[in-house]
């Protein structure tokens, strides 16, 4: 087992829902979806973001090989109230792609991280 950054397993897009950011995490290959489901849990994502968020929800879209996360309290008030550069959560997606997840050696080799 080794670990790789999510950027090698998924692509992503994010947006806002009030004071929450959403991150849609999409498997780069069909066989990576199960890894996302197994490793990118609510607990791990909450731990990854730490005090950047106040709560995490996860939804599964196996048809699109995607997970959708709602990151609550991520936008410092959100909308027009927020003072953040990323007040609309547009690049929270890329912050999630920094997360490290364990994969087996075959997958690690496939993504060039063996």
């Amino acid at each position: 087992m080794t670990t790789v950054q999510l950027r090698y397993l998924a692509h992503a897009r994010s947006g806002d829902k009030g004071d929450s950011a959403n991150v849609g995490l999409i498997a780069l290959a069909p066989e990576y979806y199960d890894i996302l489901v197994r490793e990118v849990t609510v607990e791990r994502v909450a731990e990854h973001f730490g005090d950047m968020v106040s709560g995490v929800e996860r939804f599964e879209l196996p048809n699109l090989r995607a997970l959708n996360f709602l990151l609550h309290g991520a936008l410092d008030g959100g909308g027009t109230v927020s003072l953040k550069t990323d007040a609309q959560g547009k690049v929270y997606s890329t912050a999630l792609l920094r997360m490290e997840v364990p994969v087996d050696d075959r997958v690690a080799a496939a993504v060039g991280n063996a």
Binding site: I26, L64, T80
Partner: protein, 457 residues
Amino acid sequence: MTHTVRIASGQGFWGDWLEAPMRQAQGGPIDYLMMDYLAEVTMSIMQKQKSRDPSRGYARDFVPLMERLLPEVAARGFKVTTNAGGVNPRGCAEAVLDVARGLSLERPVKLGLVTGDDMLDRIDELLAAGHPLTNLDTGRPLSDVRDHIVSANAYLGMRPIVEALAGGADVVITGRVTDTGLTLAPMFHEFGWALDDWDKVAAGTVAGHILECGAQASGGNLLYQWQDVPGLADPGFPIVEAHADGSFEVTKHPGTGGVVSCQSVTEQLVYEMGDPNEYITPDGVADFTTIQLEAAGQDRVRVHGIAGGPRTDMLKVSIAYGYGFKAVGSLVYSWPDAYAKAQAADRILRQRLQDLGLEYEQILTEFVGVDATHGHLAGPPDPEIAEVELRVGVRARDRAPVERFTREIAPLVLTGPPSVTGFAGGRPAVQEIVAYWPALIDRTEIEPHVKVEWLES
């Protein structure tokens, strides 16, 4: 039955690429051009404009755009659906009619006008009738901010647009109709689907969600293999080719830039998504976990299998209210020790604000190049980093402390840490914050007020 309806996306927001609608009109056959102009805060901006000048309150650049598009509409016969009317759809329609009359069109054009979403004048009546208009996010009653309300609009669905199209409208102008309604209406009008065929509503909702952000479904803002997206200087905006069975293909005009792929469509599908099992619109509830995508050739994705459920009894309401004031100032510090200099400047600025006795709801410091977008996840910066931008924002209910803050940035140039630049823009502007209050209202309070009219050039 081989009837196909081609619905083209022309604008994904107020301020989107101005060339896109004409390229959609001229680049190949289309039956409908949908143009979405309204975001949550847009209505409040328009309401402020209308309060200063009653003839305004809509997307003004829509009118010169229609001056270019109307000859195409008259000649080619496609129809336009848009919510460019904002808080003054009648004013918008009249301005478009004026323009139409000044053009030598091949034939007169008929405008459909949808009104009835505006509930600003009815707020007290609705509160008195027992509708609390509770904030969906905070649970607070609307009475908290009653005196500060700027605009209030219910989100209407496709049905009045279907009616306008059935009455022969070439161009349908609405106020706060959902983005998805602009795409759903052409499909229901053309295919004659029953309005309570919920799977068809769900299919059209997904099509609308794919189209409503313009090129974001066809290669724009696409993270997947972004370096390989071709021709973004001339991106083809997405087009839905819809079929009577509820399936559709997503594509774009030949010879345009960008890309339509399962990846580009999927990135748009998950954008601003909540619970994918229940994507709620005024017209029905779509289940995004039923969507099936298949690559179907060059820049072509087939979408099918979509299921949904009945519409709810409630409509969403978008209320905007005056919240307070904010300002954001920035300065750039260069190597050596760029980050340390920016941090020192931030400490000095905060000390001065405190010594002046100024109080804020929040002071937020970001170091652009270090932590502005990824926070602590970015890790410590390279000690040799070439430059760091100090970006400080403040927010207060009163204007005065924010105003004073804007005068405390420039002095740092000569009274703070060295190697500072990037101040050519002058003092930061004080911005009035108009905040968004999401709520629900019984559909029965709104729908009797919705009206469709037809105006001819």
